[in-house]
Symmetry: C2
Subunit: 208 residues, 2 copies
DNA sequence: ACCTGAACACCGTTCAAGT
DNA sequence: ACCTGAACACCGTTCAAGT
């Protein structure tokens, strides 16, 4: 055995990522193992380590693919013929929809725990930044915010939708089906944007 | 060996949960194993299965403890001598602060993946419901919402803060330190409440 | 009755050895 | 150069056997 050379290093990488993606999609991270990947592609576990540093490295590259797939529907939402607020509502819905359609892959992107809280690789950070950047133009238009304020608003809004997504997906809320999730998303986005558009409230906590 | 009877079943349970809690707090879920717990309390791994069904069961009981510890600071925040909006801002800050103080225990509560998306045990659901219920009174006062609308608002707001928390803790946002996280939290809560108080916007997406 | 200790079926990762 | 297969140090969980 050894020296089959049936695939180039790149092809082998694609095979591994494809198998890993399918395994995660089917059974979550619990379904993923080096031995399972190897079995799926007809190689032995050691082969994986010729292409990737370790299993974490494989997972991170699967996550990069998932974040790439998430980009298109969000991009389409903010490019739609709609008001800025409408674009943002639709972008949020697209986010939730994607998470519901690919729950295990989506969760892998955000629950994969690096050792000791350290930051992920740049190619993951970049992709997340690109997603957040998508909602900046409509958010600027809907709120007249700019600069650091706009940036903070984009992060807050995106995080908020993300939170609804994760708690809904893991059944931590008492929701039934996707309609309730979408309703919560709309509620958060619309009220946040309404509040943001009513400028100058800043830290005046006495509005209640 | 066998038949030491140095501890009652209840004491053994406490020992196990205490050791598990410490292991998770120190090294996250990665630091937890039946063998590590056993070693920490001076028993063999088999003993754990006399008290708990499995390791998942242990984790869920640690999570119940964590959620109980989270209750007090939130309760204190909403009981403070402040406006309803101020109480909610402080409750959100308390949530973020707790998560930052106990990142591994907090993450264990929300990232622990049950097999196949099924819902967690009632004693976990109950505790989460109790937390959400805490913010209902000030939220009702700040927004004049009631019934299903109030319930949805509480879930949306809580999820939103949760989302900021998790993304901040896992470094998915470009934030430096806890100040930026608190600022995002304030931003989300205040603008959401402002928008919520400006009733009747409902699904009118054309406000941008 | 309580607890052990060995076993089973798994892991991630490494690396000498084969072609 | 490429890949294997066996090994190492781990897992969660079970359960016959000991006291």
């Amino acid at each position: 055995m050894a020296r089959r050379s049936e695939h180039t290093r790149e092809q082998l990488g694609e095979l591994i990522l494809g198998a890993a993606e399918q395994l995660i999609a089917e059974n979550g991270m619990a379904g993923l193992s080096a031995r399972a990947i190897a079995k799926a592609i007809g190689y032995t576990p050691g082969t994986i380590y010729l292409v990737f540093a370790n299993l974490d490295d494989v997972i991170l590259h699967v996550n990069a693919r998932t974040l790439d797939r998430l980009f298109a529907p969000i991009e389409k939402a903010v490019a739609g013929d709609d008001t800025p607020t409408g674009q943002l509502v639709r972008a949020a819905r697209a986010y939730v929809e994607f998470a519901r359609a690919h729950p295990n892959l989506w969760r892998a992107c955000f629950e994969h725990r690096l050792p000791s809280e350290q930051t992920g690789p740049d190619y993951i950070d970049m992709r997340i930044q690109r997603l957040i950047a998508l909602i900046m133009p409509p958010l600027a238009a809907a709120s007249r915010a700019e600069g650091a304020h706009l940036n903070a608003a984009a992060q807050a809004l995106w995080s908020g939708v993300h939170g609804i997504c994760i708690l809904s997906l893991t059944n931590k809320l008492h929701l039934v089906g996707g309609q309730a999730t979408e309703h919560l998303t709309d509620d958060l986005v619309i009220h946040y944007l309404t509040g943001l558009a009513a400028r100058g409230v800043g830290t005046s906590l006495g509005s209640g």
